[in-house]
Subunit: 121 residues, 2 copies
DNA sequence: TTTAATGCAAATACTTTGCAGGAAA
DNA sequence: TTTCCTGCAAAGTATTTGCATTAAA
């Protein structure tokens, strides 16, 4: 893990929730940990590839990131405030596997996300 | 409803699913229905405001639109050749609705996609 | 020395806005 | 006329890439 990836992870811990690349860059700048915006983007790309962070989208399409455990799960996201709940998705795993097999696919993966307006909004 | 909004709605019907503003613009161009890209964007903005079309996001953040109330389906996509099969997703609808309600969400929607390697690859 | 990491500036892609000409009321 | 609609070109924003420099191994 490169030095910049560590810095970005640390920044993500500090904000403790969602943050865009631009926001993380600002956080790092404010804390003497100045690194280039390009490097923040590249660090985030690796971290997503490593499945160390989750990549989601804000309503306006901007990418937002956050720390993520290894367990595969799905998200229920509030379209308004971004509040996120991790969801158990056993049904989905089975559905994806079964649908893929029925059509002769192998090496089957899937994505699924639920969105709506949470009770506070 | 303006003339361009009608054209865009018509194009959405023709593609029968999701389409980005850029794709809709191309579809319209190919069919002599040439209208400017700006106008497509503006028509889509009104249609979303009117709740005539849904606005979602692709994984890369590009905005995609679909007719509201369109019976929607999911896709099974081959990672290698791009072959796509439309999948019945009744299970998912229920799962999404139920999971959302359990956490007090309303106005619930979802996205789901399956990918893998098809039998020809 | 050889490789990988960094960051600036430029490029890219999607989307919005300014503005002027044209259509409709 | 007055207002709305259209679309080109320019601006805006998030993200990626080219490339030369620097740090690390």
């Amino acid at each position: 893990m490169s030095k910049s990836e560590t810095k970005v992870l640390h920044a993500l811990e500090r904000v403790g929730g969602f943050a865009s690349a631009q926001e993380l860059h600002m956080v790092l700048k404010r804390n003497q940990e100045a690194i280039g915006l390009t490097t923040v983007y590249r660090a985030l790309q690796s971290l997503v590839a490593d499945k160390s962070v989750d990549l989601l989208r804000r309503e306006d399409g901007e990418a937002i990131y956050r720390l993520c455990g290894d367990a595969h799960h799905h998200h229920l996201v509030c379209k308004n405030c971004g509040k996120t709940v991790e969801i158990e998705g056993g049904v989905i795993e089975k559905w994806a596997q079964k649908s893929g097999e029925e059509h002769g696919f192998r090496d089957i993966g899937h994505t699924a996300e639920i969105f709506g307006i949470c009770s506070d909004c």
